[in-house]
Protein backbone atom coordinates (compact mmCIF):
# COMPACT_ATOMS: atom_id res chain seq x y z
CA UNK A 1 0.00 0.00 0.00
CA UNK A 2 1.97 3.03 -1.17
CA UNK A 3 2.23 5.89 1.29
CA UNK A 4 0.87 3.89 4.18
CA UNK A 5 3.81 4.61 6.52
CA UNK A 6 3.08 8.33 6.24
CA UNK A 7 -0.01 7.77 8.33
CA UNK A 8 1.83 6.06 11.16
CA UNK A 9 3.60 7.84 13.98
CA UNK A 10 6.87 9.58 13.27
CA UNK A 11 8.75 7.24 15.60
CA UNK A 12 7.80 4.21 13.50
CA UNK A 13 8.93 5.86 10.28
CA UNK A 14 12.28 6.33 8.70
CA UNK A 15 15.48 5.08 10.20
CA UNK A 16 13.92 4.55 13.64
CA UNK A 17 11.40 2.15 12.08
CA UNK A 18 14.09 0.35 10.11
CA UNK A 19 16.25 0.12 13.22
CA UNK A 20 13.41 -1.69 14.99
CA UNK A 21 12.45 -3.94 12.08
CA UNK A 22 15.99 -4.88 11.09
CA UNK A 23 17.73 -4.83 14.46
CA UNK A 24 15.27 -6.31 16.91
CA UNK A 25 16.44 -9.87 17.36
CA UNK A 26 13.02 -11.16 18.42
CA UNK A 27 11.49 -10.18 15.09
CA UNK A 28 12.03 -13.11 12.80
CA UNK A 29 10.30 -12.91 9.44
CA UNK A 30 10.83 -14.23 5.96
CA UNK A 31 10.40 -12.62 2.52
CA UNK A 32 6.66 -13.36 2.41
CA UNK A 33 5.84 -12.01 5.89
CA UNK A 34 4.06 -8.69 6.52
CA UNK A 35 7.21 -7.63 8.40
CA UNK A 36 9.17 -7.79 5.19
CA UNK A 37 6.49 -5.81 3.33
CA UNK A 38 6.65 -3.15 6.08
CA UNK A 39 10.43 -2.88 5.77
CA UNK A 40 10.09 -2.43 2.02
CA UNK A 41 7.41 0.24 2.58
CA UNK A 42 9.60 2.03 5.15
CA UNK A 43 12.49 2.05 2.73
CA UNK A 44 10.27 3.39 -0.06
CA UNK A 45 8.95 6.07 2.28
CA UNK A 46 12.49 7.10 3.24
CA UNK A 47 13.36 7.30 -0.41
CA UNK A 48 10.31 9.51 -1.09
CA UNK A 49 11.28 11.78 1.83
CA UNK A 50 14.82 12.05 0.53
CA UNK A 51 13.58 12.93 -2.95
CA UNK A 52 11.24 15.59 -1.54
CA UNK A 53 14.09 17.02 0.56
CA UNK A 54 16.39 17.15 -2.43
CA UNK A 55 13.74 18.94 -4.51
CA UNK A 56 12.96 21.45 -1.76
CA UNK A 57 16.63 21.97 -1.12
CA UNK A 58 17.21 23.00 -4.73
CA UNK A 59 14.50 25.65 -4.35
CA UNK A 60 15.85 26.77 -1.01
CA UNK A 61 19.41 26.89 -2.28
CA UNK A 62 18.27 29.41 -4.88
CA UNK A 63 17.00 31.63 -2.05
CA UNK A 64 20.26 31.20 -0.13
CA UNK A 65 22.35 32.05 -3.18
CA UNK A 66 20.38 35.16 -4.04
CA UNK A 67 19.60 36.94 -0.79
CA UNK A 68 17.93 40.32 -1.16
CA UNK A 69 16.52 39.51 -4.59
CA UNK A 70 13.00 40.76 -5.31
CA UNK A 71 10.51 38.35 -3.80
CA UNK A 72 13.11 36.68 -1.57
CA UNK A 73 11.62 37.48 1.80
CA UNK A 74 13.38 34.55 3.48
CA UNK A 75 16.88 36.02 3.16
CA UNK A 76 16.91 39.78 2.92
CA UNK A 77 20.68 40.04 2.54
CA UNK A 78 23.84 37.94 2.52
CA UNK A 79 24.37 38.10 6.27
CA UNK A 80 20.98 36.47 6.83
CA UNK A 81 21.82 33.60 4.49
CA UNK A 82 25.18 33.04 6.17
CA UNK A 83 23.59 33.26 9.59
CA UNK A 84 21.01 30.61 8.68
CA UNK A 85 23.73 28.11 7.73
CA UNK A 86 25.87 29.02 10.73
CA UNK A 87 22.90 28.50 13.05
CA UNK A 88 22.31 25.06 11.50
CA UNK A 89 25.86 24.00 12.31
CA UNK A 90 25.41 25.03 15.95
CA UNK A 91 21.92 23.52 16.21
CA UNK A 92 23.19 20.20 14.85
CA UNK A 93 25.82 20.04 17.60
CA UNK A 94 23.36 21.05 20.30
CA UNK A 95 20.90 18.39 19.16
CA UNK A 96 23.66 15.80 19.14
CA UNK A 97 24.91 16.64 22.63
CA UNK A 98 21.46 17.07 24.18
CA UNK A 99 19.41 14.41 22.39
CA UNK A 100 21.67 11.84 20.70
CA UNK A 101 23.88 11.60 23.78
CA UNK A 102 21.87 13.33 26.51
CA UNK A 103 18.69 11.26 26.16
CA UNK A 104 20.32 7.84 26.64
CA UNK A 105 22.53 9.21 29.43
CA UNK A 106 19.39 10.28 31.33
CA UNK A 107 19.99 10.82 35.04
CA UNK A 108 23.13 9.46 36.58
CA UNK A 109 20.93 7.20 38.70
CA UNK A 110 18.83 6.04 35.74
CA UNK A 111 20.59 5.75 32.40
CA UNK A 112 18.27 5.07 29.47
CA UNK A 113 20.29 3.06 26.91
CA UNK A 114 17.08 2.16 25.02
CA UNK A 115 16.71 5.85 24.13
CA UNK A 116 19.92 5.83 22.11
CA UNK A 117 19.35 6.58 18.45
CA UNK A 118 19.47 3.47 16.24
CA UNK A 119 20.91 1.35 19.06
CA UNK A 120 19.67 -1.98 17.66
CA UNK A 121 21.75 -1.45 14.54
CA UNK A 122 24.61 0.21 16.46
CA UNK A 123 24.12 3.57 14.70
CA UNK A 124 24.23 5.64 17.93
CA UNK A 125 27.91 6.57 17.93
CA UNK A 126 28.37 6.73 14.13
CA UNK A 127 25.41 9.12 13.82
CA UNK A 128 26.76 11.41 16.58
CA UNK A 129 30.18 11.43 14.97
CA UNK A 130 28.76 12.07 11.50
CA UNK A 131 26.86 15.10 12.87
CA UNK A 132 30.02 16.50 14.47
CA UNK A 133 32.03 16.03 11.28
CA UNK A 134 29.27 17.60 9.18
CA UNK A 135 29.04 20.64 11.48
CA UNK A 136 32.80 21.04 11.28
CA UNK A 137 32.71 20.76 7.50
CA UNK A 138 29.91 23.33 7.25
CA UNK A 139 31.79 25.75 9.51
CA UNK A 140 34.95 25.28 7.43
CA UNK A 141 33.03 25.93 4.23
CA UNK A 142 31.53 29.12 5.66
CA UNK A 143 34.93 30.53 6.63
CA UNK A 144 37.39 32.32 4.40
CA UNK A 145 40.24 31.59 6.79
CA UNK A 146 41.47 28.47 8.62
CA UNK A 147 39.71 27.63 11.88
CA UNK A 148 42.49 26.06 13.99
CA UNK A 149 40.54 25.97 17.28
CA UNK A 150 37.57 24.36 15.51
CA UNK A 151 39.91 21.78 13.91
CA UNK A 152 41.43 20.95 17.31
CA UNK A 153 37.96 20.66 18.81
CA UNK A 154 36.97 18.09 16.16
CA UNK A 155 40.16 16.12 16.90
CA UNK A 156 39.08 16.00 20.52
CA UNK A 157 35.65 14.72 19.47
CA UNK A 158 37.29 11.96 17.40
CA UNK A 159 39.55 10.99 20.31
CA UNK A 160 36.62 10.82 22.71
CA UNK A 161 34.63 8.73 20.21
CA UNK A 162 37.47 6.21 19.77
CA UNK A 163 37.45 5.56 23.53
CA UNK A 164 33.83 4.41 23.45
CA UNK A 165 33.62 0.61 23.32
CA UNK A 166 29.95 -0.03 22.50
CA UNK A 167 28.82 2.14 19.57
CA UNK A 168 25.20 1.44 20.63
CA UNK A 169 25.79 2.89 24.14
CA UNK A 170 24.19 -0.23 25.69
CA UNK A 171 26.95 -0.44 28.31
CA UNK A 172 26.28 2.93 29.97
CA UNK A 173 24.97 1.27 33.14
CA UNK A 174 28.68 0.88 33.81
CA UNK A 175 29.97 4.16 35.30
CA UNK A 176 33.21 4.01 33.27
CA UNK A 177 31.32 3.52 29.99
CA UNK A 178 28.89 6.26 30.95
CA UNK A 179 31.76 8.63 31.66
CA UNK A 180 33.17 8.04 28.17
CA UNK A 181 29.84 9.05 26.56
CA UNK A 182 29.65 12.08 28.86
CA UNK A 183 33.12 13.12 27.74
CA UNK A 184 32.01 12.82 24.11
CA UNK A 185 29.04 15.10 24.86
CA UNK A 186 31.41 17.61 26.47
CA UNK A 187 33.72 17.53 23.47
CA UNK A 188 30.80 18.11 21.11
CA UNK A 189 29.71 21.12 23.16
CA UNK A 190 33.32 22.34 23.07
CA UNK A 191 33.24 22.03 19.27
CA UNK A 192 30.09 24.18 19.24
CA UNK A 193 31.82 26.76 21.47
CA UNK A 194 34.90 26.79 19.21
CA UNK A 195 32.74 27.42 16.13
CA UNK A 196 30.84 30.15 17.98
CA UNK A 197 34.05 31.91 19.01
CA UNK A 198 36.10 31.39 15.88
CA UNK A 199 33.56 31.55 13.05
CA UNK A 200 30.83 33.60 14.77
CA UNK A 201 33.45 36.22 15.64
CA UNK A 202 34.84 36.31 12.09
CA UNK A 203 31.36 36.59 10.57
CA UNK A 204 30.35 39.23 13.09
CA UNK A 205 27.51 37.02 14.27
CA UNK A 206 26.88 36.97 17.99
CA UNK A 207 24.46 34.66 19.71
CA UNK A 208 20.96 36.05 20.09
CA UNK A 209 21.18 39.31 21.99
CA UNK A 210 17.47 39.43 22.76
CA UNK A 211 16.69 35.73 22.70
CA UNK A 212 19.19 34.70 25.36
CA UNK A 213 18.24 37.23 27.98
CA UNK A 214 14.68 38.44 27.91
CA UNK A 215 12.87 41.18 29.76
Amino acid sequence: MPGAPSATSASARGFAGLDLMLGEARLDYGPADPGCTLVAALAADLSAQATALATDWADHAALLRDPGAPGNTTYLDATEATRALYTQALAMLELTADARLGRPLGDIAAPRPARAEGWRTARSLPNALAAARAAHALATALSDVPLPATDRALDQVETAARAIRDPAFQDIDDPQARLRVEILAQRIRALRDAITAELGGALGISAGFNSLDGD
Partner: protein, 353 residues
Amino acid sequence: MTTRRVFLSALAAVTAAPAIGWADAGAPTWLACARDADDGFALYGLRGDGSLAFRVPMPARGHAGARHPDRAEAVVMARRPGTYALVLDCATGRGLARLNPPAGLHFNGHAAYLAGGTVLATAEQRADDSIGLVGLWDTATWVRIGAWQTGGLGPHEILALPDGNLAVANGGIATDPTDRRKLNLDTMRPSLAILGPDGDLRDLVEWPEMAQNSIRHLALRADGTLALALQWEGPPGEVVPLLALRARDGRVTLADAPDPEVLAMQGYAGSVAWSGDGAQVAITSPKGGRVQLYGADGAFLAAQARPDVCGLAPLPMGFVASCGSGLLLSLTDAGPQALARHPVAWDNHMVTV
Protein backbone atom coordinates in the same frame (compact mmCIF):
# COMPACT_ATOMS: atom_id res chain seq x y z
CA MET B 1 49.66 80.02 28.38
CA THR B 2 47.49 78.77 25.58
CA THR B 3 49.60 78.00 22.59
CA ARG B 4 48.22 78.42 19.11
CA ARG B 5 48.34 74.65 18.60
CA VAL B 6 46.32 73.92 21.74
CA PHE B 7 43.89 76.66 20.88
CA LEU B 8 43.37 75.27 17.42
CA SER B 9 42.86 71.72 18.63
CA ALA B 10 40.39 72.94 21.25
CA LEU B 11 38.55 74.90 18.62
CA ALA B 12 38.48 71.84 16.41
CA ALA B 13 37.07 69.79 19.29
CA VAL B 14 34.20 72.15 20.08
CA THR B 15 33.26 72.86 16.50
CA ALA B 16 33.83 69.38 15.08
CA ALA B 17 30.83 68.16 13.22
CA PRO B 18 29.28 65.12 14.86
CA ALA B 19 29.79 61.89 12.96
CA ILE B 20 26.28 62.26 11.63
CA GLY B 21 24.95 65.72 10.90
CA TRP B 22 21.93 66.21 13.11
CA ALA B 23 20.51 69.58 12.30
CA ASP B 24 20.21 69.28 8.54
CA ALA B 25 19.48 65.59 8.35
CA GLY B 26 16.03 65.46 9.86
CA ALA B 27 14.78 64.44 13.27
CA PRO B 28 14.38 60.78 14.16
CA THR B 29 11.14 58.84 14.02
CA TRP B 30 12.22 56.23 16.57
CA LEU B 31 14.61 55.78 19.46
CA ALA B 32 16.19 52.40 20.10
CA CYS B 33 18.83 51.13 22.48
CA ALA B 34 21.54 48.84 21.15
CA ARG B 35 24.74 47.06 21.93
CA ASP B 36 27.53 48.35 19.69
CA ALA B 37 30.04 46.17 17.87
CA ASP B 38 32.63 47.05 20.55
CA ASP B 39 30.23 45.73 23.25
CA GLY B 40 29.46 49.23 24.51
CA PHE B 41 25.85 50.42 24.83
CA ALA B 42 24.22 53.34 23.08
CA LEU B 43 20.93 54.95 22.23
CA TYR B 44 20.20 55.67 18.57
CA GLY B 45 17.81 58.05 16.91
CA LEU B 46 16.43 56.42 13.75
CA ARG B 47 14.76 58.17 10.85
CA GLY B 48 11.75 56.79 9.06
CA ASP B 49 13.94 55.34 6.29
CA GLY B 50 16.00 53.42 8.87
CA SER B 51 19.02 55.73 8.68
CA LEU B 52 20.75 56.93 11.84
CA ALA B 53 19.95 60.42 13.10
CA PHE B 54 22.17 60.34 16.19
CA ARG B 55 23.99 58.13 18.65
CA VAL B 56 24.24 58.77 22.37
CA PRO B 57 26.59 56.58 24.45
CA MET B 58 24.85 54.95 27.42
CA PRO B 59 26.47 54.13 30.76
CA ALA B 60 24.87 50.66 30.76
CA ARG B 61 22.37 48.63 28.73
CA GLY B 62 19.24 50.65 28.02
CA HIS B 63 15.73 49.34 27.57
CA ALA B 64 12.76 51.54 26.59
CA GLY B 65 11.41 55.02 27.13
CA ALA B 66 8.71 57.52 26.29
CA ARG B 67 8.25 60.68 24.31
CA HIS B 68 6.97 63.93 25.79
CA PRO B 69 3.46 64.69 24.44
CA ASP B 70 4.44 68.16 23.15
CA ARG B 71 8.11 68.99 23.55
CA ALA B 72 10.87 67.43 21.44
CA GLU B 73 11.94 65.54 24.53
CA ALA B 74 12.12 61.87 25.42
CA VAL B 75 13.24 59.79 28.36
CA VAL B 76 15.23 56.58 27.98
CA MET B 77 15.30 54.10 30.84
CA ALA B 78 18.10 51.74 31.82
CA ARG B 79 17.47 48.02 31.64
CA ARG B 80 16.24 46.64 34.96
CA PRO B 81 17.49 46.69 37.63
CA GLY B 82 18.02 50.21 36.31
CA THR B 83 20.10 52.83 38.05
CA TYR B 84 19.63 55.68 35.60
CA ALA B 85 17.22 57.39 33.23
CA LEU B 86 18.30 59.83 30.55
CA VAL B 87 16.17 62.77 29.47
CA LEU B 88 17.18 64.02 26.05
CA ASP B 89 16.30 66.31 23.21
CA CYS B 90 14.85 63.72 20.86
CA ALA B 91 15.64 65.76 17.76
CA THR B 92 19.37 65.97 18.43
CA GLY B 93 20.13 63.42 21.15
CA ARG B 94 21.50 66.13 23.46
CA GLY B 95 21.19 65.16 27.14
CA LEU B 96 18.87 67.35 29.24
CA ALA B 97 18.81 65.56 32.59
CA ARG B 98 19.81 62.35 34.26
CA LEU B 99 17.60 60.71 36.89
CA ASN B 100 18.59 58.15 39.49
CA PRO B 101 16.14 56.10 41.58
CA PRO B 102 16.01 56.73 45.34
CA ALA B 103 18.00 54.36 47.54
CA GLY B 104 16.41 50.92 47.83
CA LEU B 105 14.51 51.22 44.53
CA HIS B 106 15.43 50.47 40.97
CA PHE B 107 13.98 51.42 37.61
CA ASN B 108 12.26 48.64 35.70
CA GLY B 109 12.89 49.79 32.14
CA HIS B 110 9.75 51.72 31.12
CA ALA B 111 8.29 55.18 31.72
CA ALA B 112 5.37 57.41 30.69
CA TYR B 113 4.60 61.12 30.67
CA LEU B 114 1.46 62.15 32.61
CA ALA B 115 -0.63 65.28 33.17
CA GLY B 116 0.11 66.89 29.83
CA GLY B 117 3.80 66.15 30.16
CA THR B 118 4.27 68.00 33.45
CA VAL B 119 4.99 64.71 35.26
CA LEU B 120 7.17 61.77 34.31
CA ALA B 121 6.17 58.38 35.72
CA THR B 122 8.85 55.69 36.02
CA ALA B 123 8.18 51.97 36.60
CA GLU B 124 10.11 50.87 39.68
CA GLN B 125 10.32 48.18 42.28
CA ARG B 126 11.65 47.96 45.80
CA ALA B 127 14.90 46.04 45.65
CA ASP B 128 14.29 43.89 48.72
CA ASP B 129 10.71 42.68 48.07
CA SER B 130 9.91 43.63 44.42
CA ILE B 131 6.86 45.70 45.51
CA GLY B 132 5.85 47.77 42.50
CA LEU B 133 5.98 51.56 42.47
CA VAL B 134 5.45 54.35 39.98
CA GLY B 135 7.96 57.12 40.67
CA LEU B 136 6.78 60.66 39.88
CA TRP B 137 9.09 63.42 38.66
CA ASP B 138 8.46 67.10 37.94
CA THR B 139 9.52 67.54 34.30
CA ALA B 140 10.35 71.25 34.79
CA THR B 141 12.89 70.70 37.56
CA TRP B 142 13.43 66.89 37.42
CA VAL B 143 12.81 66.75 41.16
CA ARG B 144 11.11 63.60 42.44
CA ILE B 145 7.69 64.58 43.73
CA GLY B 146 6.26 61.28 44.92
CA ALA B 147 5.44 57.66 44.18
CA TRP B 148 2.38 55.42 43.84
CA GLN B 149 1.93 51.75 44.62
CA THR B 150 1.12 49.69 41.53
CA GLY B 151 -0.84 46.96 43.30
CA GLY B 152 1.54 44.20 42.26
CA LEU B 153 5.11 42.95 42.07
CA GLY B 154 7.69 43.71 39.41
CA PRO B 155 5.86 46.27 37.24
CA HIS B 156 7.37 46.49 33.79
CA GLU B 157 5.72 48.59 31.07
CA ILE B 158 3.53 51.56 32.05
CA LEU B 159 1.45 53.54 29.56
CA ALA B 160 -0.50 56.80 29.81
CA LEU B 161 -4.12 56.38 28.68
CA PRO B 162 -6.12 59.05 26.81
CA ASP B 163 -8.50 59.49 29.77
CA GLY B 164 -5.66 60.56 32.07
CA ASN B 165 -5.28 57.16 33.73
CA LEU B 166 -2.10 55.10 33.81
CA ALA B 167 -1.94 51.43 32.78
CA VAL B 168 0.62 49.34 34.67
CA ALA B 169 1.72 45.85 33.64
CA ASN B 170 2.51 44.21 36.97
CA GLY B 171 4.61 41.27 35.81
CA GLY B 172 4.00 39.59 39.16
CA ILE B 173 7.52 38.25 39.38
CA ALA B 174 9.76 38.89 42.38
CA THR B 175 13.38 39.11 41.30
CA ASP B 176 16.74 39.07 43.00
CA PRO B 177 18.00 42.68 42.76
CA THR B 178 21.54 41.57 41.95
CA ASP B 179 21.10 38.93 39.26
CA ARG B 180 17.46 39.24 38.06
CA ARG B 181 16.81 35.65 39.23
CA LYS B 182 13.06 34.91 39.43
CA LEU B 183 12.06 34.03 42.99
CA ASN B 184 8.30 33.34 43.09
CA LEU B 185 7.22 31.54 39.92
CA ASP B 186 4.99 29.12 41.92
CA THR B 187 3.06 31.92 43.60
CA MET B 188 3.30 34.76 41.07
CA ARG B 189 0.19 36.90 40.41
CA PRO B 190 0.50 39.18 37.43
CA SER B 191 -2.04 41.94 36.87
CA LEU B 192 -2.89 44.90 34.72
CA ALA B 193 -3.58 47.83 37.02
CA ILE B 194 -5.35 51.01 35.91
CA LEU B 195 -4.38 53.90 38.18
CA GLY B 196 -6.30 57.19 38.32
CA PRO B 197 -4.67 60.65 38.17
CA ASP B 198 -4.02 60.47 41.92
CA GLY B 199 -2.63 56.95 41.82
CA ASP B 200 -5.90 55.41 43.02
CA LEU B 201 -6.55 51.89 41.75
CA ARG B 202 -9.40 52.12 39.21
CA ASP B 203 -9.31 48.61 37.76
CA LEU B 204 -7.30 45.44 38.16
CA VAL B 205 -7.20 42.66 35.55
CA GLU B 206 -6.00 39.33 36.93
CA TRP B 207 -6.13 35.75 35.63
CA PRO B 208 -5.69 33.29 38.49
CA GLU B 209 -6.45 30.43 36.05
CA MET B 210 -3.18 31.18 34.24
CA ALA B 211 -1.27 32.93 37.00
CA GLN B 212 2.09 32.02 35.48
CA ASN B 213 1.34 34.12 32.38
CA SER B 214 3.22 37.34 33.19
CA ILE B 215 1.82 40.63 31.85
CA ARG B 216 4.85 42.62 30.75
CA HIS B 217 4.30 44.91 27.76
CA LEU B 218 1.50 47.18 26.59
CA ALA B 219 0.43 48.99 23.45
CA LEU B 220 -2.40 51.46 23.04
CA ARG B 221 -4.78 51.88 20.13
CA ALA B 222 -6.25 55.31 19.44
CA ASP B 223 -9.64 54.17 20.78
CA GLY B 224 -8.14 53.19 24.13
CA THR B 225 -7.91 49.44 23.50
CA LEU B 226 -4.86 48.04 25.25
CA ALA B 227 -2.83 45.16 23.87
CA LEU B 228 -1.03 43.09 26.52
CA ALA B 229 2.04 41.04 25.60
CA LEU B 230 2.58 38.04 27.86
CA GLN B 231 5.41 35.76 28.93
CA TRP B 232 4.63 32.24 30.08
CA GLU B 233 6.57 31.14 33.16
CA GLY B 234 4.85 27.75 33.53
CA PRO B 235 5.92 24.39 32.11
CA PRO B 236 7.40 24.74 28.62
CA GLY B 237 5.31 23.44 25.75
CA GLU B 238 1.92 24.48 27.11
CA VAL B 239 -0.34 26.25 24.64
CA VAL B 240 -1.21 29.57 26.28
CA PRO B 241 -2.09 32.91 24.68
CA LEU B 242 0.74 35.45 24.51
CA LEU B 243 -1.51 38.37 23.55
CA ALA B 244 -4.57 39.76 25.31
CA LEU B 245 -6.72 42.77 24.45
CA ARG B 246 -8.49 44.97 26.98
CA ALA B 247 -11.25 47.08 25.48
CA ARG B 248 -11.92 50.50 26.93
CA ASP B 249 -14.95 49.11 28.79
CA GLY B 250 -12.63 46.68 30.59
CA ARG B 251 -13.60 43.56 28.63
CA VAL B 252 -10.58 41.28 28.12
CA THR B 253 -10.14 39.05 25.05
CA LEU B 254 -7.42 36.43 24.77
CA ALA B 255 -5.89 36.24 21.32
CA ASP B 256 -6.40 33.04 19.39
CA ALA B 257 -3.74 31.38 17.24
CA PRO B 258 -3.27 27.80 15.99
CA ASP B 259 -1.40 25.60 18.47
CA PRO B 260 1.79 25.24 16.38
CA GLU B 261 1.91 29.04 15.99
CA VAL B 262 1.62 29.50 19.76
CA LEU B 263 4.31 26.92 20.42
CA ALA B 264 6.64 28.52 17.86
CA MET B 265 6.77 31.64 20.06
CA GLN B 266 8.34 29.59 22.88
CA GLY B 267 6.04 31.09 25.50
CA TYR B 268 7.51 34.54 25.09
CA ALA B 269 6.31 37.84 23.67
CA GLY B 270 8.94 40.56 23.94
CA SER B 271 7.24 43.59 22.41
CA VAL B 272 3.78 44.55 21.22
CA ALA B 273 2.52 47.30 18.90
CA TRP B 274 -0.59 48.34 16.99
CA SER B 275 -0.26 49.22 13.33
CA GLY B 276 -0.67 52.94 12.63
CA ASP B 277 -4.19 52.41 11.28
CA GLY B 278 -5.15 50.29 14.30
CA ALA B 279 -6.21 47.39 12.09
CA GLN B 280 -3.54 44.96 13.30
CA VAL B 281 -1.61 44.20 16.43
CA ALA B 282 1.77 42.44 16.42
CA ILE B 283 3.92 40.64 18.99
CA THR B 284 7.53 39.54 18.66
CA SER B 285 9.36 36.57 20.13
CA PRO B 286 13.15 36.74 20.05
CA LYS B 287 13.21 33.25 21.59
CA GLY B 288 11.07 31.85 18.80
CA GLY B 289 12.55 34.20 16.17
CA ARG B 290 9.05 35.14 15.09
CA VAL B 291 6.68 38.06 14.57
CA GLN B 292 2.96 37.31 14.76
CA LEU B 293 0.28 39.57 13.34
CA TYR B 294 -3.28 39.55 14.71
CA GLY B 295 -6.44 41.36 13.73
CA ALA B 296 -7.92 43.98 16.03
CA ASP B 297 -10.26 41.25 17.31
CA GLY B 298 -7.35 39.07 18.42
CA ALA B 299 -7.62 36.57 15.57
CA PHE B 300 -4.32 35.30 14.22
CA LEU B 301 -3.48 36.59 10.73
CA ALA B 302 0.10 35.73 9.79
CA ALA B 303 3.63 35.17 11.07
CA GLN B 304 7.16 35.94 9.92
CA ALA B 305 10.28 34.03 10.96
CA ARG B 306 13.13 36.41 11.76
CA PRO B 307 16.03 35.53 14.09
CA ASP B 308 16.36 37.47 17.35
CA VAL B 309 13.58 39.91 16.48
CA CYS B 310 12.22 41.96 19.39
CA GLY B 311 11.67 45.71 18.95
CA LEU B 312 8.41 46.77 17.35
CA ALA B 313 6.86 50.11 16.32
CA PRO B 314 3.95 51.17 14.14
CA LEU B 315 4.13 52.12 10.48
CA PRO B 316 1.05 53.81 9.00
CA MET B 317 -0.15 50.49 7.49
CA GLY B 318 2.02 47.97 9.30
CA PHE B 319 5.02 47.66 11.55
CA VAL B 320 8.76 48.09 11.80
CA ALA B 321 10.68 45.46 13.75
CA SER B 322 14.27 45.53 15.04
CA CYS B 323 16.55 42.52 15.38
CA GLY B 324 19.66 41.55 17.34
CA SER B 325 21.38 41.14 13.97
CA GLY B 326 21.12 44.90 13.36
CA LEU B 327 18.28 44.55 10.85
CA LEU B 328 15.36 46.97 10.77
CA LEU B 329 12.49 45.25 9.01
CA SER B 330 9.30 46.74 7.64
CA LEU B 331 6.22 44.51 7.73
CA THR B 332 3.44 45.78 5.51
CA ASP B 333 1.09 44.41 2.88
CA ALA B 334 4.14 44.43 0.57
CA GLY B 335 5.66 41.69 2.74
CA PRO B 336 8.79 41.85 4.88
CA GLN B 337 11.44 44.21 3.57
CA ALA B 338 14.81 45.28 4.93
CA LEU B 339 14.56 48.94 5.85
CA ALA B 340 18.19 49.19 6.94
CA ARG B 341 20.93 47.25 8.64
CA HIS B 342 23.39 48.70 11.13
CA PRO B 343 26.40 47.08 12.80
CA VAL B 344 24.71 46.94 16.20
CA ALA B 345 22.49 44.53 18.12
CA TRP B 346 19.15 46.26 18.54
CA ASP B 347 17.80 45.85 22.05
CA ASN B 348 14.27 44.92 23.12
CA HIS B 349 12.27 48.00 22.14
CA MET B 350 11.70 50.84 19.69
CA VAL B 351 10.15 54.07 20.99
CA THR B 352 8.22 56.21 18.52
CA VAL B 353 9.03 59.90 18.83
